[in-house]
């Protein structure tokens, strides 16, 4: 893959916004079938321009207006905000207090830095194949809950471009949810509590809620390879002590024995489980795997940022935006292939621009008519690059939205006996 040089961004972005950004699909998404008047026109976008100039309250009349403005301003970053009561770019003309955020997708931001206390391979902005499994597990656990517990149907998962993933829940009813309900959803999805000064971050009661049980089942599928092999969480004295700190004092001696008698994480974990299961739950006097689960959850369960999700007016990085530091495109993630998703193979802006150049050269050599080329280019350029499969995932998501909308319209017209 072509190496990415941030200094080239202005030129690369120019090409990206002129020939590669999937405007048609993007507009199709945010217009939501044009069912509500001015839904797109009242949407806030924010642009981060060269030299960190940040401008809010951008809004556009239609797809072509959006295209023109993006090509003119060449933003380094694009964020999507709420749908407001008025056009955001006219918010200064609105009477004080009348300009209100009304609707927005429910969004989640899962960031690898929030797991620094439990990953040994990397820290802060770094990621590697060993810790990426945390994102895989997070997607599986959160997506299952959003779909099966909350009944949300239209969930778009997107790679953030560097060290995490975002989720956009786009159901019609969800866009209208209040801030209180959004907070409640994040609370429901939260199990790991406490900052850097808190040693033990997960406490389970005797009654295990189905959400917790199902999440543990998902983690079980990945735990051995992720935690015991890749992360090697019982691999040395330091890491063993971290786990010891999560167990009650009465079994510390027994566990130390285990660590002495066995030397691989795999073996140590097997025997730790045996010791832990003999512990009884103080409240109920029942013996069980709570400690084992608490450890697994602390090391693997997703950590959400409530501030991102609860505010209706919160702005989040747009899909198909470029990450200015890595050059990677924020691409949709195919849920059917989430285990195979590799952030290191996500196309960068340099690589796809390079691909485009190479193709153009070939086409020129083939002697294609210049005018023909331009028209062809405008409609199918991204298809010739590595961006294509990701746009396909996005289109599938849009198809599902369309289907739902048609179904809803039919249902409503049936109710009104409108044949």
């Amino acid at each position: 893959m072509e190496a990415f040089d941030p200094a080239e961004l202005p030129e690369l972005l120019k090409l990206y916004y002129r020939r590669l950004f999937p405007y048609a699909q993007y507009y199709r998404w945010l217009n939501y079938g044009g069912v509500i008047k001015n839904y797109f026109q009242h949407r806030e976008f924010s642009f981060t321009l060269k030299d960190d100039i940040y401008i809010r309250y951008q809004s556009f009349n239609n797809q072509s207006d959006l295209e023109k403005e993006m090509q003119k301003m060449n933003p380094y970053k694009i964020d999507i905000g709420a749908v407001y009561s008025h056009r955001p770019n006219q918010h200064n003309t609105v009477k004080l207090g009348a300009f209100q955020a009304q609707e927005k997708e429910l969004v989640f931001d899962i960031d690898m830095t929030d797991y620094d206390d439990v990953r040994r391979c990397c820290s802060s902005a770094d990621i590697c194949s060993k810790c990426w499994t945390l994102m895989t597990m997070a997607i599986r656990i959160i997506d299952r809950a959003l779909k099966e517990d909350f009944g949300f149907k239209h969930r778009l998962w997107v790679y953030s471009g560097r060290r995490g993933v975002h989720c956009w829940v786009c159901d019609e009813s969800v866009r209208k949810l209040s801030s209180a309900v959004r907070s409640g959803i994040v609370e429901y999805l939260s199990l790991v509590k406490g900052g850097p000064d808190v040693k033990k971050k997960v406490h389970l009661s005797e009654k295990i809620h189905p959400f917790v049980r199902k999440s543990i089942n998902i983690i079980n599928k990945y735990f051995e390879e992720y935690a015991l092999v890749d992360q090697d969480i019982l691999g040395n004295k330091e890491s063993c002590n971290k786990i010891l700190a999560l167990a009650p004092e009465i079994i510390h001696d027994e566990l130390q024995q285990v660590f002495q008698n066995h030397h691989s994480s795999l073996q140590r974990w097997e025997h730790l489980k045996k010791v832990a299961r003999c512990l009884n739950n103080i409240k109920s006097d029942k013996y069980g795997p709570w400690l084992e689960w608490e450890i697994m959850l602390q090391y693997c369960f997703p950590r959400l940022d409530i501030n991102v999700s609860k505010g209706i007016n919160h702005l989040l990085k747009s899909p198909f935006s470029v990450h200015p530091k890595t050059g990677r495109i924020s691409v949709p993630i195919d849920l059917q292939k989430v285990d195979q998703f590799d952030p290191f193979t996500v196309p960068t802006i340099s690589s796809i621009c390079h691909e485009l150049d190479a193709i153009s050269t070939i086409e020129e050599e083939k002697g294609e008519n210049k005018a023909e080329s331009i028209i062809k280019h405008r409609t199918r350029d991204y298809k010739k690059t590595s961006l294509a499969p990701y746009v396909k995932v996005f289109e599938q998501f849009l198809e599902n939205l369309d289907k739902s909308r048609k179904g809803e319209l039919l249902r409503k017209s049936d109710l009104q006996k409108d044949f």
Binding site: S183, I208, F211
Partner: protein
């Protein structure tokens, strides 16, 4: 013969219509009353309800809410003022009407300050909680439906299918007999206080809520609606009322003396809410 026949028909209609006005022994006071009443009745209804709400407050302090002693004492008080509280075989129209009108009259008085609002809402909630707790199981569904709360009790087959999950999710079910429990299916967003703490089972966008927890939700709904209504009432009270102006009225009980003087006729008043 014909004459008396017509009269009999008229009375029968009146009876049905009256029952339709107040189909339940309790209500959420969603619709204001719209009739003319005499000034004396206005005053008496207000005084009676204030008395009752003060008793509710005192009983709540002296006894544990929900216990038999609390309930029997409260029942006795409600009987005294002849408001509705329980379904009887007798004609329920009059007690329900008195309950309805008196509530709305007090809104005018108790919307006037934060303290008054808080006190009024608290006592009205305790009163509603009591009435709800003595509602027969088969009447609960109808009452919820008529109050525009889309809460449906699920059938036994559905209950059995989810027995493990519901029991594992609801702390309020510990120690109760599963067979006797009613479980309600409501949109998850209506059960915010339950699902945020994972105290209820969620499936496909619905919360499966045992009866005990439904009461808490219903009361919360009531509190929210009443709070809003009092805020609105405040606007109307500050504006000139549509009363015919002949004299002033000062109501006699000490609680009512907090009310501002309201110009009213001495004969009849028409209440516009």
């Amino acid at each position: 013969m014909q004459f008396s026949g017509a009269r009999w028909k008229k009375q029968k209609l009146a009876g049905d219509q009256r029952n339709m006005c107040y189909p339940h022994s309790l209500q959420f006071y969603l619709q204001p009353p719209s009739e003319n009443i005499s000034l004396i009745e206005f005053e008496n209804l207000a005084i009676d309800r204030v008395k009752l709400l003060k008793v509710v407050e005192n009983l709540g302090v002296s006894y544990v809410k929900g216990t038999e002693l609390y309930q029997s004492k409260l029942e006795a008080e409600i009987r005294k003022v002849k408001f509705s509280f329980r379904e009887n075989l007798e004609d329920e129209y009059e007690p329900r009407r008195r309950d309805h009108i008196s509530h709305f009259i007090l809104r005018l008085a108790y919307c006037q300050s934060e303290d008054l609002r808080r006190w009024f809402i608290q006592q009205e909630m305790d009163l509603l909680r009591f009435r709800f707790s003595i509602l027969p199981k088969d009447k609960i569904q109808d009452f919820l439906k008529d109050s525009h709360l889309h809460f449906e009790a699920i059938k036994d087959e559905e209950k059995t299918l989810r027995e493990k999950e519901i029991i594992a999710s609801s702390p309020s079910l510990s120690g109760t007999k599963w067979e006797l429990e009613s479980v309600y299916k409501i949109p998850f967003a209506d059960a915010l206080d339950l699902f945020r703490g994972r105290k209820v089972y969620l499936e496909d966008g619905f919360a499966y809520v045992p009866l005990k927890d439904i009461v808490a939700i219903v009361l919360n709904e009531f509190r929210t609606k009443l709070s809003k209504a009092l805020a609105t009432a405040l606007l109307y009270v500050k504006q000139p009322c549509n009363f015919q102006d002949i004299g002033h009225l000062h109501l006699s009980s000490t609680e009512c003396q907090k009310w501002p003087p309201v110009p009213m006729t001495t004969q009849n008043i028409t209440i516009y809410f």
